[in-house]
């Protein structure tokens, strides 16, 4: 009799799990918190494409709104970094002797790498940093890594335009291969997006790994030939194993920089192998990144 007292002991009766499932199915309800099929996930993604664009714009604005110079910093920052790198690595360590046009070589590598690494680091925070958004709005969660990469790409467009000016100013001839410059950047963006999706999922599953991402990015910066020519440096090692050169040159970070350089620098002609490897990496990361991210859809937001 006391079951309705201050501490009710009898809980409201409930359907069993099987009954509930049959009941929901009978009325055509949709289960939430489960992974959608790949096809419907892709359809959702397409349906929400306008939202992706609005969110990228929002991300972009909120990153550049808080200071007076705003978007100018997206150009100023890599330029200042470029000057510092030029003095330290180019002049002090004399790495500029390996390359004909070191200024263009360095700035193209640096600006591309800044975008590429930002995709990785912001991809790591794409889910964990957006928990409040996930808790208020429902949309395919893959938009979150997509949005940070999209916004990163857009905010780097002025820097990419500056690269054209630098190439002109340092005496590179304008050739048909310049038309491939945006294509190369898109290949890099695709690679970065794939990695961002991959990292976002991994960090969401094991958040401590977020601490490792900056370390990986830093290592990548040193092994990708941002400020030195891998070819020339490996050749300078007397007893380098044969696999060392290709390993360093064809890893994703290095080919990303190389294909962009090849479109603007006459000293580095377009090379089919490098492009094929770059496109291969881009396709590989895009595909695995998307699949890996999709596999855990329906668990994001649970912390």
């Amino acid at each position: 009799m006391t079951d309705l007292g201050p501490d009710p002991t009898r809980l409201p009766e409930a359907l069993t799990e099987q009954e509930a499932e049959a009941f929901a199915a009978r009325h055509g309800l949709e289960q939430v918190g489960v992974r959608p099929t790949l096809g419907s996930y892709l359809r959702d993604l397409w349906r929400y494409r306008h939202l992706a664009w609005s969110m990228a714009r929002g991300e972009f604005v909120s990153q550049h709104r808080d200071n007076y110079l705003g978007l100018l910093w997206a150009v100023l920052n890599p330029i200042m970094l470029g000057v510092a790198y030029y003095l330290i690595f180019g002049v002090l360590l004399d790495l500029k002797r390996d390359v004909d046009n070191f200024i263009a070589f360095l700035t193209i590598g640096l600006f591309t790498f800044v975008f590429f690494s930002a995709a990785l680091t912001s991809g790591a925070k794409a889910l964990l940093g957006k928990v409040s958004v996930m808790r208020s709005l429902a949309f395919p969660r893959v938009l979150l890594p997509l949005v940070v990469v999209l916004s990163g790409f857009v905010s780097n467009i002025p820097a990419f335009l500056v690269l054209l000016l630098i190439a002109l100013a340092t005496g590179e001839p304008v050739t048909w291969s310049w038309l491939l410059f945006p294509v190369a950047l898109l290949v890099v963006a695709a690679m970065g997006l794939g990695m961002a999706m991959l990292v976002a999922r991994v960090v969401h599953a094991a958040r401590d790994l977020a601490n490792v991402v900056p370390l990986v990015v830093r290592l990548l910066r040193y092994v990708s030939g941002v400020f030195f020519s891998i070819e020339a440096r490996v050749a300078a090692i007397d007893d380098a194993p044969v696999w060392l050169g290709p390993l360093l040159e064809f890893q994703p970070g290095a080919v990303a920089l190389t294909i962009v350089r090849q479109t603007l620098m006459s000293g580095l002609p377009l090379d089919g192998t490098t492009w094929a490897v770059a496109c291969g990496w881009a396709a590989f990361f895009l595909l695995t990144g998307f699949l890996v991210f999709w596999r855990a859809e329906g668990t994001y937001g649970r912390t």
């Binding site: 309800l29 949709e30 939430v32 306008h50 709005l137 937001g301």
Partner: protein, 303 residues
């Protein structure tokens, strides 16, 4: 809905010609809190405590916010959720809105859910205009549809000149109005209102109430969390009482509020004594006498 103290079939075993919109089956939600370490144990020896202090900030604690909650909600119902602060109401609502997947158990929804809560921060650095675009597109509107409804949303929110200022500069009332206007821009099948009405002034509450009635009449389901008896009684056709993550009562608002008040209301001590007395009578004179004893107060809580 029958009063909770009569034996009734589990909700939904008979369809009664109604269409369910939410089937919640044995849903439990656990979330992890990071960096808080294990629970402190004062009984530990002082040496051991000293040793464990160095690792206190490390580790994860699990919080069982919702435990084994089951119910079925129908179209046209407006369901009030009562319970103390921290009893798991908001967590449950976020799951009902399809935003946080349940840790165990299953949830089925019939249609699009929209959450409206004080915590549902859109993006504070962005302007009201940008937030309207993002929020409305997340509800599945196309850009053309957003454009068509944009003025309605702004009118309802009454934010005037603040439209192009960041939401961080809004007063809490303005923010609540804007969120409400966005969340109801599309008539959702399931509207989840998490204490969002309490921040507004009387004028806003009146208009919000009209909007909620419209949604219910359009055969939607509305969930409302409120700490006000009056709100629950005037706006809801059914109430759920959640206590420490468990669903303790499910039924008409009057009786459920009565049960809740027995445990936490002004007369909680009186009620505790009465039920202790009833338990004593049951032991001595049998359940009949105890029921007779309790019937004396029945009319006052269950009109």
């Amino acid at each position: 809905m029958a009063a909770p103290d009569t034996d009734r079939a589990p909700a939904g075993t008979s369809d009664e010609g109604r269409t369910p919109s939410v089937v919640c089956s044995h849903v439990s939600i656990t979330y992890r809190v990071y960096g808080v370490g294990r629970e402190e144990n004062d009984a530990e020896g002082s040496v051991r405590r000293l040793l464990s202090r160095s690792t206190r900030g490390v580790g994860v604690r699990e919080v069982h916010a919702v435990r084994d909650v089951s119910f079925v909600a129908y179209r046209g119902e407006s369901i009030g959720i009562v319970g103390r602060n921290g009893s798991g109401k908001s967590t449950l609502l976020r799951t009902i809105a399809g935003l946080v997947p349940p840790t165990s158990g299953s949830l089925w929804l019939g249609g699009k859910a929209s959450l409206l809560g004080v915590n549902a921060v859109l993006m504070p650095q962005l302007t009201g205009r940008e937030n309207i675009w993002i929020g409305a597109q997340a509800l599945g509107l196309t850009p053309a549809q957003v454009r068509a409804r944009f003025d309605d949303i702004v009118d309802f929110a009454e934010i005037g000149d603040f439209l192009d200022l960041p939401m961080a500069s809004y007063s809490s009332g303005m923010g609540a109005r804007l969120r409400f206007a966005i969340s109801t821009a599309v008539t959702p099948d399931i509207l989840v209102v998490d204490e969002a009405l309490s921040t507004g002034d009387a004028h806003f509450r009146a208009r919000a109430q009209e909007r909620i009635t419209q949604i219910r009449e359009a055969a939607g389901t509305v969930f409302i969390v409120s700490h006000s008896d009056k709100t629950i009684k005037s706006m809801c056709t059914r109430a759920l009482w959640i206590d420490e993550g468990r669903l303790l009562a499910d039924g008409a608002p009057g009786p459920v509020n009565g049960l809740y008040a027995r445990k936490y209301g002004r007369h909680r001590q009186v009620w505790r004594q009465r039920f202790e007395e009833a338990a004593r009578i049951e032991e001595v004179e049998g359940p009949e006498a105890a029921a007779r004893y309790l019937r004396r107060w029945e009319r006052r809580t269950a009109p």
